[in-house]
Subunit: 436 residues, 4 copies
């Protein structure tokens, strides 16, 4: 985790304070459940809640851990200092450290998911706003980086909206995947604790009880979670790449917002670099790099080994923090992206009318000109555009062989942009689920 690529809300989910608070809640709820089935006295269970609003002293816990060499014991020792030894001895009964640690990790992932979902909402809102704003802003569609047929800037935003909306659905599923907890003992048999404790704690913590666990929650869940984050990151790179392309000096159809006061902006007006989207490209790689180790983590020896732990200590916070930051950076870029419709038109007309050559070719054929002749006619006029910078429509209108086959109106019609935008509303309705 790098401070410059992080937001405080997400960082705080992974703080020691948050972690200990979750530990505490799990232990306290477990005591309630233990009391309910008569394993521990009800008054002691109730007394555990005395620490509800008492902040834990992280430094003190660290101090104890330096002696005990065991994080959960250190925490319980500190808890005892707050709630008293008489009550503390009923805490954690029949539980193993993993019950607490693993359930906590999933609580954190769920909370991280909620933040990520809200980041995605911001991205979606920005994309939708810009899509409607530029629904009819015509620009050239490009396949292979080469001009193909006209489209609109709104369709580009709408396409990204649909992609991010799919990602949001995926993340909701991924959140659901890891929203389970386990309090099932050293090998998952509930030998030392009743399954009702697990059920109560999970319900209170907003989780489902893991149907079958083995000291740890099975890691296919986490693999799916991080794989999903990897897909989201790839979509971020996809959008970032579009913007980087649009900002190229030769294209200049859009620019990342550059505040007027920014030094150098007007002495070198051409040198505004798309550094935010370039950065997003790199951040996408950082998010994606967690996918492979998360997949490798699925295989554990027998009832569990701890090989996955160091991986998760890293990718748990780092990946969610980076993705959270990236989502908000992306939203900011989209919200403020400066669009240049006039440059879009200028680019489309770089080879004056040539992008319409295929429509003309088709029209000639449909008008009864044979394939070879149609091709020859288009070609001789197209080459004048390509080599001499002529205007395609003008040339066609001046070519008697062409006008013999097509009327002026027919030729004009082939250059009508409305032909290409006639279904934009239909597509918008599909994407945004509204009549446009």
């Amino acid at each position: 985790m790098i401070p410059r690529y992080s937001r405080p809300d997400m960082v705080s989910i992974w703080s020691p304070e948050s972690k200990f608070r979750i530990w505490y809640e799990i232990e306290a709820h477990a005591c309630d459940a233990q009391a309910a089935i008569g394993v521990i006295p009800a008054e002691n269970a109730a007394a555990v809640w005395k620490a509800k609003d008492v902040p834990f002293d992280v430094a003190r816990i660290d101090e104890i851990e330096a002696v005990t060499k065991h994080d959960v014991i250190a925490f319980l020792t500190h808890l005892a200092e707050i709630i008293g030894q008489d009550t503390a001895r009923f805490v954690h009964q029949g539980m193993t450290s993993s019950d607490v640690l693993d359930t906590t990790f999933n609580v954190q992932l769920v909370r991280a998911s909620d933040l990520l979902l809200s980041g995605m909402d911001r991205v979606l809102a920005a994309l939708k706003t810009r899509a409607y704003e530029h629904k009819d802003t015509v620009r050239i569609g490009r396949s292979h980086g080469i001009h193909a047929e006209p489209t609109t800037m709104g369709l580009t935003f709408a396409r990204f909206y649909a992609e991010m909306d799919r990602n949001k659905n995926r993340l909701e599923k991924a959140k659901w995947e890891i929203a389970t907890g386990a309090i099932s003992g050293a090998v998952g048999t509930f030998a030392n604790i009743d399954p009702s404790v697990e059920e109560h704690v999970c319900e209170q913590m907003g989780l489902r009880a893991e149907p079958i666990s083995n000291q740890v929650i099975p890691r296919d869940r986490h693999a799916m979670f991080f794989a999903t984050l990897g897909v989201i990151a790839s979509s971020i790179e996809n959008i970032a790449t579009e913007i980087r392309h649009m900002q190229r000096t030769e294209v200049l159809e859009a620019e990342e917002f550059f505040s007027p006061g920014q030094k150098g902006s007007s002495a070198m007006p051409h040198k505004r670099n798309p550094v935010l989207t370039e950065n997003l490209t790199g951040l996408a790689r950082l998010v994606r790099m967690s996918v492979t180790p998360a997949l490798e983590n699925v295989t554990l020896w027998h009832e569990r080994d701890i090989s996955h732990s160091s991986v998760e200590r890293t990718i748990g916070p780092d990946t969610t923090i980076t993705l959270d930051f990236a989502l908000h950076r992306l939203a900011g870029v989209i919200e403020k992206l400066v669009i240049y419709p006039e440059n879009m038109l200028a680019n489309m007309n770089k080879f004056r009318g040539l992008v319409m050559s295929q429509r003309v070719l088709l029209a000639l054929t449909q008008a009864g000109v044979n394939r070879e002749d149609s091709y020859r006619l288009v070609q001789r006029n197209a080459m004048k555009v390509w080599e001499q910078g002529a205007d395609f429509k003008t040339e066609l209108l001046a070519d008697p062989e062409v006008t013999a086959a097509l009327s002026v109106e027919e030729i004009e019609e082939k250059f009508d942009l409305g032909y290409h935008t006639k279904h934009v509303d239909t597509i918008f309705a599909r994407v945004f689920g509204e009549s446009a």
Copy 2:
């Protein structure tokens, strides 16, 4: 794709014959839709179906492609040879090659998913059968490869069942992800073809119309698909690793089935290698290796570039074929796995009764012995087991300090396996959704 790691059913989905048949169906359904809106004559649309039961000549298509350098044109030329030029000229009108190619790829992925789902069903059935068979077969649970507490072999199978069942749900979602088609033209604007054609074709081919496409279907869908296959593969490795561990000479709690006639089986009865599960470990890596390029494929330049294509030509068939083979190999291994319950017991008792030392320690404490003394009592008897191979329970029963605190019955109870298996039925009910 390696023949030895493939099954014919899956291979045939990716054959040229299958591919051309899908192309044909897409074109024919598109003609129907075009006829319905009056773009082409109904009789010609009907006539396209003349090729319905005529096998395509792949060699002939290849021959034409060698000349035209274009696969779709080669196919259409061959189709014309079957349905006649008069009808053929109405085929593919207003469509681009990608409309056909991309929709076909998704049809193939959907069909591949169906085969994979049936492979998963076989794995699930095998796991469930073996789980119930060994529901009460006690064996030692191991954390870190080290004996922890007793569990049952049935719980191990049930755990894998739950994991595979999650994977099946994931695959159903992944199949849904790629079950879309697009017939939207060169940049996705439907400039040359009505959206109703896309809707009709998709419905007929068992797909949903892609809400917004851009010559190609967006690649986040495929990324999610292959990422899901990667998770499934990781679970296969997880199960394979368990079996490899069980078959180790020193453990020998299970063996892959070894047919009695297999050479060498009885001259070297100790040398039966878990080669199928080792192979599954490698196959898992092969499936997983498609995840990263699938993620990298998400980013395309503007309305599309073709960088994703070579990747998909490879990972489309290879990954589904390998996973399909792996699922069936895994199912076979589980179905026939030879389990040795007696070895499980012998292993559990390797350090005679020592795995119960923690229960005894707890019992002493609960009986009022202070922590230091409890620890000292357990330790002195445990060390006799560890160093001299004594029996733990026998030693405890002979230790007056122990028997002063715990009755014989209480000591005996600590060695009762039923303590550990008492919730097996509960867990089975959770996993298999039935009263056990």
Copy 3:
């Protein structure tokens, strides 16, 4: 492996014929070594060479394998049919299958490396030729996709040359890494065969004896090999991306060669897609995807398990075949790349002279104008270029405040391209090791 992305020379290295020929040579050389130390009769060792020029019948070997279920035994059985049973019984004595299989794999990787090296030589030659050809072809250097300072096209080629030359050195090292063989027995102790046999065979096969093996050659060697191929692939993508950028409609500084006869070339002269370099981008991903499984293959249980085998059966041929094809495709693209120097100049002058604004700013400062004033002077003239399409130099020369600080000659000098190209020869000398 996909036929369309493969060259016959590399494919043949991985053919069954090649494999069996290598198996044979290993066995025959091993017999020589066994005879030299008196383990088998010299005349029998000599007689093994009778098969030297006899082609093996792959179908026959497959037929035998279908019965014996063991590939090496099937081969030896077929060999016996050629050299006679009396001699055949001395073949393979004291050896294990892995001795043959693993050494063969490395022989194949070495031969594949030689082909790859020759592919790299072709790429290097093409890059060097084009570098010298365009040593002085000025174009704008771009950082962040935005115009920065002038450079030359030759420097771009030279930069790629230096990168590929590093890759060649890496591949030579990688080839050296896997140029070892092992004939050391079931666990690598030479219990059943003398180390001198390994030494002789390796020497004859162009390998070094693996200092310590364990049935198999350690897989860190192969991991390093495939990791190196992954780096080379990434450089291919780097070069391919540059060309894709150059061919963009708005940039058009270069185009992949498009044969004049190619259909459509002149009716749609603007629509020439950089499909070869897009394809190379995808192929790079395919090569890279072998890196992770190759790294995962390093860990084998104890003296060996066979998890690595299925991975290598796939990535051995597939990765080398794909990279070989990619290198030659890249070489072809570079050799025939059509460069448009006039478009390079036009692009550089898109914002007429504006890329020189920083030099002017510096010159003003050095001429004693204070920082704020310098900035203001540059800015007001730059904005005329940016907003009104004026020419920067013309504006500066017409600005009395500027000309008060800088003479006409000084201003002219700031627009001299020679300032930027003065060290091109120095750089060429560094890269190509020659006085330019």
Copy 4:
């Protein structure tokens, strides 16, 4: 980077203090070089060195950066506060930020490499010591986890030594790969600075001048560097896995050192978990996960984009810190690994003598018994061992058909462990380059 998985020496290489000190040295050496060619006054160049022993105030630099939004300018401003404005204005002349930043990154990677190399030396020393210590400690070699033939523990250590020694050579090469610097300007043309400055600075910083750069040093170098770290990490996992296997309860041939005072050690003597090697398995994944983004970083747009930067800010420190920690953790594990030779013997004899069955089979054949009979003889005795726990040699000696073919001495000889260890010295001489 996680504090618990880091060592201070490596962390300090990546501290702000270290970074600023390197920036300073680069700037100061650049001034010397600029003075040497008369670009700046010699006395000012000399005056820059006034800051040589003055610690930089990181907080102060951060404070300035909060205003200037530019890290290098912030540093130069702080430097001016130390060396005075008159001298400071000569610093950084003609340079771009990347000249400083990129060269610094490589200085840090070189220093990190040196630390890693010394970690590897510690691992190598430990492996060598343990190899000689257990050169003749016999244990069973296992293929597929199944007993194969005897080997020695020393050979296992020697094998790991050879692997790590290869890794050390690879790391030396990788260090060499990134030991270059660049001071070549905004697009690498040296337009604003003489190449001699780059040469002088690089020489002083222990680097080579990058022959051709383009604002940044080409990223294939870094890709190769991180790929190499990935291979080393995989070898660490390989060794860790061997130890985890050895410590399994059923195998117990070795244990990670467990200090006598460690709580619980003797009350649960069976429960000593190989947590350090499990942790190393996870750390290996963390190191490896940098390989793919490092490969993706190779492709930069034109003369550079900044997509690689965020990746490197993370993987630069994190990967080297994790690997450094892992190497020392591994060294510690090996140095103190508790080996149980008696358990090795016991394991080997688990199926009493059965691992020798293949030698007996071969001996019978060589003694003239035909293949079927030999097989039958071995089989019937082997099955007594397998099924009834008999001793193989005893059974063979009591089987008249066997003793008719083989003398007692011949039978005894087949069970001689010396047969398997006779080439251990030869192998040690190969690995350690010494007469054993």
